[in-house]
Amino acid sequence: MNKVLMQGNKIIGEAAIRAGCRFYAGYPITPQNEIPEYMAERLREVEGGVFIQSESEVAAIHMVIGASAAGARSMTSSSSPGISLKQEGISSLAACELPAVIVNMMRGGPGLGNISPSQGDYFQATRGGGHGDYRVIVLGPDSAQELADLTMDAFDLADRYRTPVMILADGMMGQMMEPVIFKTPKPRAYPESFIMKGAGAGKSKIIRGLILDPLDMEEHNWTLDRKYQVIARKETRHELYKADDAELILVAYGTGARIAKGAIKRLRESGLRVGLFRPITLWPFPTNELRDLAKKIENFLVFEMSTGQMVEDVRLAIQGRARIGFHGRPGGVVPTPVELANVVMRKYDRKEGIIDHY
């Protein structure tokens, strides 16, 4: 296996191609432009590859709907404001039970915000994002390697559960180059019967989200919900880092988790027993795993590049069993490990949990 040095955005593109992605539609927006550029180049080279620079984010996601229904592994990507535009189609994908992968390289917001790395779209991503009663599987990579691995996994998860899957990273993950090894993806196992390609001599098929009868719609909602419950039971992923002897656990994901690891190294050098709980799936959130940790550890500190979004999931998981503090840097600011270490140091001294948040 060859180790290569590649930029995050391009890693996603390459991993997608290797995973069999044959349809991409997207619209330019910083800081993820290298994804459409890479796909434009690579999809020319693979058989059946289709790249479309769409007229809008909205059009892109609806092209993905068509391509997914027609049986292609399909992807679109954008950054925060563009992801807001795509929500109509993501809701449709969930309703119609169509697989697709959506990449969000988050930037500062709300509104146009800026183009710096941010984690302000956690709520939008993990609560469905668009209208209606649905969830999206959300993966939060924290390294080049995970960008590759989780992109490949995203296609498998999307197929297995016939549901949209989102890669939630940020401008820093997208722009950074890091060594990566591309694993061999599993061959696709997606039943032909789900694919819309004309009725042939047989019965015609309908793919739709419109269900006018409330009782039928309710049943469809419960069907989706049962699927989401299976996903929540089977697909949560997290990483524990130096947590065995920890007295305080940092909870962070993606770029935030990288910074947290750097802070933890420094803190441990000063003799502070600090560890990290890193959710890898943001939805489903590793609730039970975090709750178990709260049985033996009393202090948690959530760190996010936002004003505090994942912290709500941490509270829901821990349910008052431990103290929970929060440190956030929204707006596109990427704090240094030193800054975070200093924050932890102050809170650790006071052994005080609920601080600084609202």
């Binding site: 040095l5 800081p31 722009q175 180059m177 060594p179 910074i259 690891k261 750097g262 240094t336």
Partner: protein, 181 residues
Amino acid sequence: MMVKTIFSGFGGQGVLMMGYSLAHGAMSAGYNVTFLPAYGAEVRGGTANCTVAVSDDEIASPIASEPDYIVVLNTPSLYTFQNRMAPGGALFLNSSIIAVEPSRHDVRIFKIPSSEMAEKLGNPRTANTVMMGAFLKITGLVPPDIYLRSMETVMGSKKKSVIEINRKAFAAGHEFLKIAE
């Protein structure tokens, strides 16, 4: 060990190439590396910079708030980055273009007339490679042979003559500081 370097200059001076080739070289030498280009709106304004972190441990943040080394190819870059440097670090500047004196006295300063040297070699575009020769001579981050292999790799399908002149440029930068010392 954790070393962070910022490369900075005008767009077109090969600033990103310096960082990319160093990152590739360090990866080939077995280190963990990150390479982070500045991608802000300022990139469109004609300046370019990038940050390379090299470590034998996991790299937490690819951003350098206190770089150990800076390599600056123009005056605005010197102003932007010299005050961020960690004390005891090393500052490499292109003295063909930068006429002002750095304000830092707690770092080692290396002035390399890289544009003139590159011109003398016959290709002014290799000033960045001259700087890399000098930079690796002092920092020893990556052995020259590994670096040169990486440089060829990242240059991709460039012509042999281009590779050759860059090798010469690297050697000139490397030699230059040997003589100066």
